[in-house]
């Protein structure tokens, strides 16, 4: 699909005297910083490369093909939601005792994916990780689209969807009631909606200077009008930048505890209930690690094809991919530890119900799901110990997809704990309906449609931040700290 040969390795010239068009910035040389932007791109070059996709008259054919597929899947999803509204939740495979079937699995899966974006934009920003500038915009976009998919599933699961506003504390003469603020399900409403709104603000605010670049580059009146409105009249004034950077740091400082709180609260949906296999204190950290794990896997899955289709290889370099693969490996180990500790505690607690829940998870009717989960999440990321695999684009995508398969099954395994509850007479095998399956596929369609439209119409790279990194890189090169191509 993408040109792998372009990643041919070049020996890094440690003397840094001759100009090289391509260098392998994944080589670790402790005496110098590896360059984060390659190909000798200057400020104008960055604007050109990033604006190219939004400005070209016709995007590559593959963009149309992918959009056609994902838009059709989105239409199917819309039709199925209509079916659900008119027929009720019985169109899904949810039953007693598995009241929470695929919808909650999909919800937790998508929310988890949405965690990488804010982690990259907020936590890596606070730690001054300059490599985030190449990938943060696309990762934030991915976050927002994943949270849209996530919010949809509990939203359509509430039965009487037309009364959805009862979820919020709105004074109502008709209901004469308020939400119960001590319920984890309500915490979830607040956590997910706050996460979506704050991510959207963060994303949009980060995009304002780049939208101004688009506005100033635009040649048609329509583009000038639309990007002009979106850019809010941004001029790049030093006074504006000063307040903007302060606001950005504050947003990052707010989003950092937020990103950790959201999946913690999602895990409370399970952990606060008194169900064997769910009622454990390990859930919050284990859910957060799993979320970052799956989120980075999704970022890799999207960015590797994107960088080659849209010619962004000098900005999203091998080093970026490798860094993300390292994070996947670390969080994969965390998740693996959590699986093991969970099992140990089930035995060590001496609680027969807890032990039964875990035995049933791994050796019960859904043993196959547990196997998929464990091998995809714990064994597969171990391949990243090898640098060859860490820096291989094809392997990165393959492993990224496998990790997300594993993470979907992790949530499936957790929810299927309900399958064998306290009453053996109600034990039966959970089977999803075709609506369940098509809705999951449809949600991928929605996600991909939004992402493809984002690629076409909005700045996919944080241009102003990358330009700042170029300056930093140049200054460091002059100071002798950066292995630069100049």
């Amino acid at each position: 699909m993408w040109d792998y040969n372009e990643q041919t390795r070049f020996e890094i010239n440690l003397m840094a005297t001759t100009v090289q068009t391509r260098i392998d910035n994944s080589i670790e040389d402790p005496s110098r910083r590896a360059p984060l932007i390659t190909g000798g791109l200057d400020y104008d070059g960055v604007s050109d490369v990033v604006s190219d996709l939004a400005e070209m008259a016709k995007p590559p054919r593959i963009w149309y093909v992918l959009l056609a597929i994902s838009a059709s899947l989105t239409l199917i999803l819309g039709a199925l939601i209509g079916l659900l509204f008119f027929k009720g939740v019985g169109v899904w495979g949810n039953n007693a005792p598995v009241y929470w079937g695929w919808p909650i699995v999909n919800f937790v899966f998508w929310v988890g994916i949405g965690h990488a974006g804010t982690l990259i934009s907020a936590i890596l920003f606070l730690f001054r990780q300059h490599w985030r500038t190449g990938i943060n915009r696309a990762a934030e976009a991915m976050t927002i689209f994943a949270v849209i998919c996530a919010g949809m599933f509990p939203g359509i699961h509430i039965g009487r969807v037309w009364a959805f506003y009862w979820l919020f504390p709105i004074p109502s003469e008709h209901l004469s009631m308020w939400p119960n603020f001590r319920s984890p399900l309500l915490w979830d409403v607040f956590a997910v909606s706050t996460y979506f709104t704050v991510s959207l603000l963060f994303w949009y605010m980060g995009m304002v200077p780049d939208l101004a670049t688009f506005r100033d580059r635009s040649t048609t009146r329509l583009r000038k009008f639309i990007y002009g409105i979106l850019a809010l009249g941004w001029t790049g004034s030093a006074r504006h930048w000063h307040r903007y950077e302060t606001a950005y740091t504050i947003l990052a400082a707010l989003a950092t505890p937020l990103v950790l709180s959201v999946h913690t609260i999602v895990s409370f949906d399970f952990a606060v209930s008194i169900v064997p296999g769910w009622h454990t204190t390990i859930f919050p950290p284990y859910f957060v690690a799993g979320a970052i794990f799956s989120g980075f896997a999704m970022v890799i899955t999207l960015l590797v094809p994107m960088r080659s289709i849209f010619n962004l290889k000098h900005i999203i370099t091998v080093r970026h991919i490798e860094n993300m693969n390292k994070i996947i490996m670390v969080t994969g180990l965390m998740v693996g530890t959590a699986y093991t500790i969970e099992f140990f505690i089930a035995w060590y607690s001496g609680n027969p119900f807890e032990l039964f829940a875990f035995k049933n998870r791994s050796f019960g009717p859904f043993w196959w799901a547990y196997c998929i989960m464990f091998s995809c999440n714990v064994f597969v990321p171990q391949l990243y110990w090898f640098k060859r695999i860490r820096t291989s684009m094809i392997m990165s995508v393959v492993i990224g997809i496998l990790v997300n398969v594993g993470m979907w099954f992790e949530r499936f395994v957790i929810v299927m704990t309900l399958n064998r509850d306290y009453l053996p007479s109600s034990w039966s095998y959970f089977r999803p309906t075709w609506v369940d399956i098509m809705m999951l596929i449809g949600s991928f369609g929605l996600f991909m449609t939004l992402f493809l439209l984002f690629c076409r119409f909005l700045p996919v790279i944080a241009m102003s931040e990358v330009k700042g990194t170029i300056t930093f890189q140049r200054n460091m090169a002059h100071a002798g700290g950066y292995a630069d191509q100049h």
């Binding site: 009249g233 004034s237 504050i250």
Partner: protein
């Protein structure tokens, strides 16, 4: 320059272009050293140290966000306390949820929502505060008129020095910029017409505002008015199931081509003569119905009124169909023994089924009745208050009548025939009669045997 304001254009500053962030930084430092205050630098990305070089004071934004965050903390906690821990307080009533015997307000359980409200409000404060302090959005800016300035968001760096009547003039500003190393210098002219909105935009905005107001107006209108038309239901809710209630009218003939429904368009089959339905054994009218056996007492003789097509027709028939009071049984039937055992049975069943509305002492002050009456006073519900057994009307009622009330219900009270056997019902009648006796026939003091009186007096001492 005030004498030029009538013209369309006015000179507001001079713009110098620089090729690198360092050049801009030095120019800013030089300009500041030479005493220029009214200037601003423009760059495609933030340049570190430039606010110091320009003398830009630190923004108050963090304090603003802190203030909003702290207020949000108080508001979030207050919201949860008001909605979940208070009742009948303030303009809207809170709703106290008692869950697992836990306190209405417990800080640990209220932390997550408080935290989310703080983060949400602070994020908006940071974003909107930044925009407000920067006076954005500002779409009309004289700098946007300059073709060269388009590169300020791409790859060039600019320093704009404001000119004014008393201060710098254009020539000296231009010279200074050249001196600081500007590659190009250009004058910035303010076009007064830039601040006017295009005419089509005004019309568009007014129209959009009116159109946006329509849906909420329609919603409020719908909520605040009554209508004789049936409500529109996009979705057949549980409230509107595909079924016919007994004694209701079946569909019109065109909807029922198979003739599935019964005579007189009823939705249910009328009782076939000579058959006895389940629980309709009326072989012993006295015991089972509380009505004296006689030619009129047989149930088949009592006409079940046919439900007529319209309310008017039914109303017209009502006087004629007004039920004649049946011949109620006045004594307990033979099969039922008036004894201590049945009295205790009656008390037990009364406490279970009747006391919730009628109260333990038969005053009609049961908890359900109290709550329902309170709701009915507030409006929204209708409720016929439970009768007190000490009401003279009720005291006069023969036992058969009370038995019939339990069996078939009256007004808001439902029938209890399905839950209480005839013997149980008679036991309850017995207990009710006993409750009435406690008030109606207080024995005169002389009736009390002298020994009992003495005993009571001794105990009291």
């Amino acid at each position: 320059m005030s004498n030029e304001t009538h013209q369309d254009k006015k000179l507001v500053g001079v713009l110098g272009q620089f090729d690198s962030p360092d050049a801009l930084l030095h120019a800013c430092e030089n300009a500041r050293q030479s005493g220029i205050k009214k200037m601003d630098a423009y760059s495609p990305f933030p340049i570190h140290g430039i606010e110091k070089a320009l003398g830009v004071p630190r923004t108050i934004l963090p304090f603003f966000v802190l203030a909003v965050g702290l207020s949000a903390c108080a508001a979030g906690l207050g919201l949860q306390w008001f909605t979940n821990a208070t009742e009948n307080w303030g303009p809207w009533s809170g709703y106290q949820f008692k869950i697992s015997g836990k306190p209405y307000f417990s800080l640990p359980a209220n932390i997550p929502v408080t935290f989310e409200i703080i983060v949400l409000s602070s994020a908006f404060a940071a974003f909107l505060g930044m925009l407000a302090l920067n006076r954005l959005p500002t779409f009309a800016n004289p700098l946007h008129r300059i073709a060269r300035f388009k590169r300020a968001t791409n790859d060039r760096f600019f320093l704009a020095i404001e000119t004014s009547e008393g201060g710098l003039d254009a020539t000296s500003a231009r010279n200074k910029l050249m001196e600081y190393g500007a590659t190009d210098v250009e004058e910035v002219w303010l076009d007064q017409t830039d601040h006017q909105l295009p005419a089509f935009l005004k019309t568009f905005l007014v129209l959009a505002l009116v159109l946006l107001l329509l849906p909420p107006v329609m919603v409020f209108r719908g909520q605040g008015m009554t209508s004789r038309q049936t409500r529109l239901h996009l979705n057949p809710d549980m409230d509107f199931q595909h079924k016919f209630k007994p004694q209701s009218l079946g569909p019109v003939a065109s909807d029922d081509p198979l003739g599935f429904f019964f005579e007189h368009k009823r939705s249910a089959l009328a009782q076939i003569p000579g058959t006895v339905s389940r629980n309709q054994d009326d072989s012993d009218s006295t015991f089972l119905r509380g009505i004296k056996a006689g030619p009129d007492s047989h149930h088949t003789n009592i006409k079940i009124p046919v439900v007529l097509a319209s309310n008017q027709e039914q109303e017209a028939l009502t006087p004629a169909a007004a039920p004649v009071e049946p011949d109620w049984v006045t004594e307990f039937p033979e099969q039922f023994d008036v004894n201590q055992e049945n009295m205790l049975l009656g008390q037990k069943k009364y406490d279970i089924y009747c006391s919730v509305c009628h109260g333990y002492s038969g005053e009609g002050d049961g908890l359900v009745n109290q709550r329902a009456s309170a709701l009915a006073i507030n409006g929204g519900t209708t409720w016929t208050a439970a009768k007190s057994y000490h009401d003279p009307e009720v005291v006069k009622q023969p036992v058969g009548r009370i038995f019939d009330t339990i069996t078939n219900g009256r007004a808001t009270m439902g029938p209890y025939a399905s839950r209480l056997s005839p013997a149980d019902r008679w036991a309850i009648v017995l207990y009710i009669k006993a409750i009435q006796e406690t008030r109606a026939n207080v024995p005169p003091a002389t009736d009390v045997p002298p020994e009992a009186d003495k005993n009571a007096g001794a105990k009291a001492e």
